[in-house]
């Protein structure tokens, strides 16, 4: 009687522990799934904005070409940077390519300063404004993406979620770094 009761007690405790572990593992796994999904959703937002920017560039190049055709070097650099950005794969490579494109566009707008007619062109002004708005959106999209990556990476590295992450195939994601030119633009006003 006493032995069977003890056995029953041990089995009961084990079963309860297993249930608790299963529930905990389920909750942990679901959280990782949620975080991973958020990373992908945030990346999709970046992707949308980057493609939006890329789609604006041919029009911009054509417009500038009409006023500053002999600035071929600058125009070619923008076209090449765009092509690289379209073909880039992976977060790091894409970040690098988009950074190059940002710098090339910066040079193009600097060149445009020397052409008053171009600066007065409505199409150019509209494209410039739209590109500025898109850059702004990209900045926020990058913030959201990096925030989501930070949450996921923290969960993947933390004990005991790292056990579930290892079993579930979750891994750390790369941050989408800002282009050096953008980082250099930060100004602190006092």
């Amino acid at each position: 009687m006493s032995t069977s009761f003890s056995l029953l007690l041990v089995v009961g405790v084990v079963v309860i522990l297993v249930i608790i572990a299963a529930v905990w593992a389920g909750l942990g796994y679901n959280r990782l799934v949620r975080l991973s999904a958020q990373v992908h959703a945030s990346w999709a937002q970046i992707d949308v904005q980057l493609r939006r920017r890329q789609s604006l560039i041919p029009n911009l190049v054509e417009t500038v070409k009409g006023y500053a055709a002999h600035e071929r070097g600058t125009l070619d650099a923008v076209v090449a940077a765009r092509a690289n950005a379209i073909n880039a794969n992976g977060t790091a490579q894409r970040g690098q390519a988009e950074g190059d494109l940002t710098r090339a566009l910066g040079r193009l707008f600097a060149v445009a300063e020397a052409y008053p007619d171009l600066k007065a062109n409505q199409n150019f002004l509209a494209l410039q404004a739209e590109l500025g708005e898109t850059e702004n959106r990209i900045a926020f999209a990058r913030q959201f993406y990096n925030s989501a990556v930070q949450s996921l990476n923290t969960a993947v590295r933390s004990i005991p979620t790292n056990i579930i992450a290892g079993m579930g195939g979750f891994h750390e994601e790369q941050y989408f770094e800002a282009a050096e030119a953008e980082r250099a633009d930060v100004r602190v006003q006092f």
Binding site: L35, A37, Q38, A41, Q143, F144
Partner: protein
């Protein structure tokens, strides 16, 4: 009896069923969110977005998100020096100017509160809480009305019960009242018929009285009140479309764990996303740090003496001497002293009488009790003497003002917490609230710097003078009995709803044309003003509000007509009848009402002003009634006053 009850209950139940049906039919429907996106749903301000995201209800998120939005738009800056978001401070931008343009009314309301409270352009975020419950409620009601008005003007929201629904419910209420009247009349007829047959077999008619009429009027009034009570807002097609887009952003933000925990100062990086996240209920970190409700009365922010600091305030509850005049305290001390002497004198005799030797237990207890009473009495006498001979004078900022002790439904003593720079033993700012008698209470406002003379031991204030009015005085909102719908109409520049329902503007005189400020001042025995300062609410055309010099509402004069006038008169029939003023007039402690034809004029003074001079209110009422339009009957003039 069964027939009458059945008829009445069926009619009332039917009306409530109709009412419930309308409630069900007009409830805001759930809006399915659009696809999750990081894009904003439109150009609606965060407060309006919070209305749409919370089922067309204005919640605390409206004010919180507006604070964050103003920070995102760089009208002020939020800085967090440590890890705790509650340490965040608000810094006004010097180049933003005192009156930034392009703000909605509710944004202006929030901005004005922040800028008025700031000392040296700085304000702790947790110091924007209110220190007066009435002010907090009034401010919130007005903000709510302004947000709803903006949403309605954008076509995103509408009143839950529109005019058609109100008409149907009102007509149905009239039918129910008729049914109740029939039932009451039937019952009355039967009951009197039976009693008549029993008591008066000669066959003379009995008089049933107007009981059925009262039942009908009361029933109609109750149902009409339920009909016209504020039922909130409901969706519109445009509102649902906009809400769906904003809910798409909420879906996106909901998945971001880190975003939810961001502090208010993160607005510098996240810009308006944080404001909209707050409006959508996705920023728990900000929600905990920003509070525009009633603050904690035991830990109050003060800027007295320069920098901001938090003052710990103690509110004595069980001090027998607290706030009392010296004479009663001294009398009790004397009683205590004499009782102690008596106990000392007679305790030995009592022991002897009980059969002891005079040095037993009773004697020892008597000795202890007697000594305690004597020492206590003597101590209190000394302290109260010191209070009387050397009252203290101090200067400080009023931190909190609250009623404490009441008698006969009137507060006779108020807590007054003043920061005079005092610190406790640990060096932290602290104070113990003073006891202010009722007659001194109206001379100051929270935030004023005052000089007070008081008895230190009993904490009773003898004299109080405002040295410097508080920075936020001009923001004091008047508590108005006007319905939320009335406030919304005022914000939208529409006539009040009761006038709209009556089918256009009534031919009533403006209350301001019936009385002058001098006349009212003369009648109430105090100087009152029409406008206490800039930023005060505009009085409704049919009501006149006058204020004391310190900005408190003093007198309210209202002109009403029709059902409203009849109900107002009915509610005041218990007052003393006044003859010679209009068709009928009544006088109460702090009010007077008169009817002239279909028009009623009510004059009400704030009870806190104390009783008006004898004859003041009747004279004021006569003056107002005498200036009603010519078709109103003219009364003979009563004595202007007892003065």
């Amino acid at each position: 009896m069964a027939f009458e009850l059945g008829l009445s209950i069926t009619a009332v139940a039917g009306w409530f069923a109709l009412f419930a049906g309308y409630l069900l039919a007009t409830r805001p429907r759930q809006v399915p969110p659009a696809a999750a996106t990081q894009d904003f749903g439109g150009d609606e301000p965060p407060a309006v977005v919070s209305l749409l995201a919370h089922g067309w209800e204005v919640t605390g998120a409206a004010a919180r998100s507006t604070v964050l939005d103003l920070a995102a738009r760089r009208l002020f800056e939020l800085r967090q020096p440590g890890n705790d978001p509650r340490q965040t401070t608000i810094h006004l931008r010097r180049d933003a100017g005192l009156t930034p343009s392009g703000l909605t009314r509710y944004e202006r309301r929030v901005f004005d509160r922040v800028s008025a409270l700031a000392s040296g352009g700085v304000l702790p975020l947790t110091a924007i809480t209110f220190r007066d419950e009435g002010q907090a409620k009034t401010w919130t009601r007005k903000l709510r009305a302004e947000v709803i008005a903006d949403a309605r003007q954008r076509g995103l929201s509408r009143r839950r019960f529109d005019r058609d629904v109100l008409t149907v419910l009102t007509v149905a209420a009239a039918l129910v009242a008729l049914a109740v009247a029939v039932a009451a009349a039937h019952y009355s007829h039967r009951a009197h018929g039976v009693s008549h047959q029993v008591s008066s077999p000669s066959g003379s008619h009995s008089h049933s009285g107007p009981g059925w009429l009262s039942a009908a009027v009361v029933t109609f009034a109750l149902l009409a009140a339920v009909t016209h009570s504020q039922r909130g807002e409901r969706d519109t097609p445009a509102g649902r479309a906009v809400a769906a887009r904003w809910l798409g952003l909420r879906e996106f933000l909901h998945g971001d764990e880190a975003f939810r925990e961001l502090p208010p100062a993160a607005v510098a990086v996240w810009d308006r996303y944080l404001a909209y996240g707050c409006a959508l209920g996705e920023t728990h970190g900000c929600d905990e740090a920003i509070d525009l409700g009633l603050g904690d009365r035991t830990r109050v922010w003060s800027s007295f003496g320069g920098g901001w600091h938090r003052v710990r305030v103690h509110y004595p509850r069980f001090w027998g001497r607290y706030g009392k005049k010296p004479l009663p305290v001294a009398a009790w001390a004397m009683v205590c002293l004499l009782a102690g002497l008596a106990v000392l004198r007679y305790s030995g005799a009592a022991q002897t009488r009980l059969g002891g030797t005079g040095d037993g237990l009773v004697t020892e207890i008597g000795l202890l009790v007697g000594l305690h009473l004597v020492v206590r009495g003597a101590y209190r006498l000394v302290r109260v003497s010191a209070d009387v001979t050397a009252p203290v004078t101090l200067t400080g900022e009023v931190l909190w003002d609250q009623s404490w002790r009441s008698a006969n439904e009137h507060t006779v003593l108020y807590y007054l917490a003043v920061d005079d720079g005092h610190r406790d033993r640990s060096g932290r700012p602290s104070t113990t609230a003073w006891g202010v008698p009722r007659e001194l209470r109206r001379s100051y406002q929270v935030g004023d710097v005052v000089r007070l003379r008081a008895h230190r031991w009993t904490r009773r204030v003898l004299e109080i003078t405002v040295v410097e009015p508080g920075r936020a005085r001009h923001l004091l909102d008047l508590e108005r009995a006007e319905s939320t719908e009335g406030l919304i109409a005022e914000v939208m520049g529409l006539p009040p709803p009761d006038r709209r329902l009556a089918g256009g503007p009534a031919r009533l005189p403006a209350a301001g044309g019936l009385l002058t400020v001098d006349e009212v001042s003369r009648a109430v025995g105090q100087q009152v003003t029409a406008r206490p300062g800039a930023g005060m609410a505009r009085p409704a055309p049919l009501s006149l509000q006058l204020y004391e010099v310190n900005g408190r509402l003093a007198v309210h004069v209202a002109v009403t007509t029709g059902l409203t006038a009849r109900l107002a008169l009915r509610a005041r029939h218990a007052g003393t009848p006044l003859t010679g003023i209009g068709d009928e007039a009544y006088l109460g402690d702090h009010w007077a009402i008169a009817r002239s034809g279909e028009t009623a004029v009510t004059v009400q003074i704030d009870p806190g002003m104390g009783p008006p001079p004898p004859g003041g209110l009747p004279w004021l009422l006569w003056t107002a009634v005498a200036r009603l339009p010519a078709e109103q009957p003219r009364p003979s003039r009563p004595s202007p006053s007892g003065r």
